[in-house]
Amino acid sequence: MSRQDPAPIAARAAAVKSALLDKGLLNTETVDHIVHLGADEWKPENGARVVARAWTDPDFRARLLDDGTAACAELGYEGPQGEYIVAIEDTPDRHNVIVCTQCSCTAWPVIGLPTDWYKSPEYRARVVREPRPVLRELGLELPTDVAIRVWETSAETRYMVIPLRPAGTESWTEEQLSRLVTREALIGTALALPACG
């Protein structure tokens, strides 16, 4: 192993890419396609549509709770890290929040690639031990009589949270409702947005 200083990370990444390209083990079309999937196709808007459907269609909600993978696939959301999706439903008494303490596993097809705060050592270390202060730092103050269940993504299950449907949205369309569901609401570090926001 070299004793010299590490090359900048951008140069290391470029080195791996160019070596794989030169050996014919990778091609630029593949790279572009993968990046397109990660940046554009897998996104929380997908999970938001799943939630909005569950809020408005009791049969779909039942199917989603019974077999999250199949229900998400009905809407076209499937793929890597979406092989075994379990949807967990908030209730007035219990709030759910997701973490992966050991790496950063996430249901890519419905939540998207995870953002930096979710991948940070701070979130991974702390949310299992002190969920209330962590949620508070992220802007969510829960009543003390609401229990918190933290779901640790330690195996192959990929979780998504079904947040409570906001009050005053009885007449809203599925499309309108889906705009209330953010990435953070799907993870459980936020509620769905209020109807009058």
Partner: protein, 211 residues
């Protein structure tokens, strides 16, 4: 005992900081790291996610903790490609114009001796305890729940057992369980019984806990 990646419950970390309107990738090299990982199945004949996770976990702890997620990703997947002969470290360092720190070698005896469990031994509502095992290789029961007792909420289908998959052990599939532990059980008696953590655990990691 735990590796540096097993962060759950470690105290002393500062606030969680959230960037507004965060992009999926902040820099081009992060896209590259992700693309290389996703292409690994075509580069490495026997690639699997557990082997990859462990290659990240094998990074020197100070390296692991001080760099971005996508640097860990690039380091982990490149380590596997070098170890398995698909890439050459000297060539990479020449291309990069500097050192390319890889992960450290796999431990001499990475797997704990956990008997295979092809049939689900536990059921919803049952009390189970996580074994007090301490392998030096890849495993997925977080340190914070080892030796703790919880309640099964769900039994999942069988999945590849990660300790074996990461370390070339005999392939085996086992059920996992969503096991709920109270905050009091995990963190001590000055915590409540209402807040809880659910951990997804393979059958081998568990034993019955009376009641």
């Amino acid at each position: 005992m735990r590796g540096i990646h097993d962060l759950g419950g470690m105290y002393g970390f500062g606030p969680v900081v959230r960037e507004t309107d965060e992009p999926v990738f902040h820099e081009l090299w992060q896209e590259t790291a992700f693309a290389v990982l996703m292409a690994a199945g075509t580069v490495l004949p026997d690639f699997n996610a557990d082997q990859y996770r462990h290659s990240v976990e094998r990074m020197a702890p100070s390296h692991y903790l001080s760099v971005h997620y996508y640097e860990r990703m690039l380091t982990g997947i490149t380590t596997l490609m070098v170890e398995q002969g698909a890439l050459d470290l000297a060539d990479l360092e020449a291309r990069a114009g500097g050192a390319f720190p890889l992960a450290l070698p796999v431990a001499a005896v990475p797997m704990a001796d956990l008997a295979p469990q092809p049939v689900a031994r536990f059921h919803v509502g049952q009390q189970v305890r996580v074994r007090q095992y301490s392998p030096m290789g890849h495993t997925r029961a977080p340190g914070f729940c080892r030796g703790k007792t919880g309640t099964v909420l769900r039994v999942t289908p069988k999945f590849s057992f990660p300790d074996a998959a990461a370390h070339g052990g005999d392939r085996r599939d086992e059920h996992t369980y969503h096991v709920e532990f109270t905050a009091r059980e995990l963190w001590g008696s000055d915590n409540g019984d209402r807040d809880s953590v659910v951990v997804d655990l393979w059958d081998s990691y568990l034993e019955g806990a009376g009641a």
